[in-house]
Symmetry: C2
Subunit: 337 residues, 2 copies
């Protein structure tokens, strides 16, 4: 995995999506179309959410995978629209759960209209997306989309349930992030390949690609939360520990630290005492735990690259590989911290 | 519509469901089965919700309509299970929105595990139900179920949005309750008839039946909130006005009251001043507004009875008619109140 790729992580627009700019604009306009399918009284809320939530990564994956597996069709754009609507619904609900008042510097739905309305807006977005999925006239698509949505919720439930739980294993952690983040990425890439009528083997490999990419991305995000610089990344960090979320670097640290340090760490986590960068960096094994986590994510990216080998060479396949390179570059930035 | 039917409204078990007791038990066991399809960490939450939320009215409608339109099949039970799961999801989210700590004397999900987890549990129930709907291998079912779910959310959004809004018309009110309550009843009766392969005309009439029944039920519930006796009904009443919900009797009262009384009423509503039974009953037009509302609900029940005329005579059809009679009896109780 090349690590020379230099990226300003604040600028997600540099993701290698230029190839599908035109199609992404079509998804954008289709999202705006969907907003008009709600009751006129509901439309303005949806319009606001549509304009402020979601980075269109899932639609981009659908389009790129469509192109790489046989050609981009209207169905790939539709799939991208549906998955983005579901993602938007989960963001609206996540912001309620986190009590977040802004998302990317814009007021969240719960901040603007209260929690109650935000719960309902997320629900309406979600049911609209699932209704839209039945328009494919292919139950496989509706089924995989609904199952992925359910997995996202289950991942979040398990994560919430196991806060401050020192018995959480690395296996538990992976199971949670695979559901929470991997499932929707995997649905995007699997179903895009499925829409191109690929073989069962290729479909499975493309699902793996999405799952590994999503999982690696979540590990990156979890490491970023722990060690990133707030100035550099322009977001509030060190929130996971505050909320009792034990992420991969913390799990490694708890495993690797000496008995005394581990006891101190555990006590601080349970008693919700401050665990700032200075405290963490003071533990001898801290840098190693970060490295192990980043390395795990890199391995996932390498495996994801392997999945792509089943596809014919194309600009699209190269762009999918480019996403892996981009994320490897971000991991590298953190490694150098 | 017979009005002699004497009912203790606290005892919903007296609804004429005895005919399908056996099938309702099968739905109950199927609901408990569904719980096991969640991750083991999520299962206990779902089990609790399944045991405490929902009165199984929608499954009963599915079974009765199945029997009345050609015979109860496993698909009718499955439809009942799915719609009840969706209903349970909306109850979990409603309790968050209302800040309710108990439902039928049992702690709500938000009270037991916090709002965040309750949001996610509702989402997971909802997506599981929609996933289950794709198992019919018939997209019509998934589509109507998803559309009905979306309507329920939209109805709730509009209701929340138009609180304390004196420009709300009766037409707006009906549009809201048709979405909020009618849609899921209508989906139950329409799709049950559809599963029995009835004609398009009958399917449409059965949809109407459910819509009218659901709407009449909501009017009853809204009147009950305004004029019911808390002791008699064992639930907290007069909450709608407090929350600024303008229901049918209030809309009639605002229309019918003289200019001075209307101004006083409007002012109290907007300024959220207390509007207790004594104040309301002191307005000359109060009893008339209640009567008009109850009469509107009765008319809907008569129309619903008309819809059933397309079905052959059977014990099931009689039981569907019995639900209308039951509700008419409840309306009668309020009229006399």
């Amino acid at each position: 995995m090349p690590k020379k790729f230099k990226i300003d992580p604040a600028d997600a627009r540099r993701l290698p999506f230029a190839l599908v700019d035109h199609e992404l604009e079509q998804v954008e306009s289709s999202l705006r179309d969907q907003v008009r399918h709600f009751d006129p009284g509901v439309e303005p809320y949806m319009s606001y959410i549509c304009d402020t939530a979601g980075k269109r990564i899932r639609p981009a994956l659908c389009i790129l995978m469509g192109g790489a597996s046989g050609g981009v069709t209207a169905n790939h754009l539709k799939l991208g629209t549906i998955l983005e609507l579901i993602h938007m619904a989960t963001l609206v609900h996540d912001d309620i759960i986190d009590g977040a008042s802004t998302r990317r510097n814009v007021a969240t739905a719960n901040c603007k209209w209260g929690e109650g309305l935000a719960v309902l807006l997320g629900d309406a977005l979600f049911s609209h997306a699932l209704m839209l999925s039945t328009e494919f006239d292919d139950l496989v698509l509706s089924r995989v989309i609904a199952a992925a949505s359910r997995d996202v919720c289950q991942g979040e439930i398990l994560q919430t349930q196991r806060r401050f739980d020192l018995t959480l294993t690395r296996q538990d952690y992976f199971s949670i992030i695979e559901m929470k983040t991997g499932a929707l990425f995997a649905a995007a890439t699997e179903l895009s390949a499925y829409l191109s009528n690929v073989s069962g083997e290729t479909r499975e490999a493309m699902k793996d690609f999405g799952m590994k990419l999503g999982t690696a991305y979540q590990i990156y995000d979890d490491c970023l939360d722990l060690i990133g610089s707030e100035e550099q990344f322009g977001k509030t960090l060190r929130t996971d520990l505050e909320k009792g979320k034990l992420t991969l670097p913390m799990l490694y640290l708890l495993e690797d630290a000496g008995a005394t340090q581990r006891e101190i760490l555990q006590k601080r986590i349970i008693q919700q005492e401050e665990l700032d960068l200075t405290v963490l960096a003071g533990i001898a094994e801290y840098q190693g735990a970060i490295s192990r986590s980043l390395h795990r994510a890199e391995t996932l990216l390498e495996e994801a690259e392997g999945c792509l080998s089943l596809l014919d060479d194309s600009d699209y396949r190269e762009a999918l590989g480019g996403i892996l390179t981009f994320l490897a570059g971000l991991l590298n930035t953190l490694q150098k911290g």
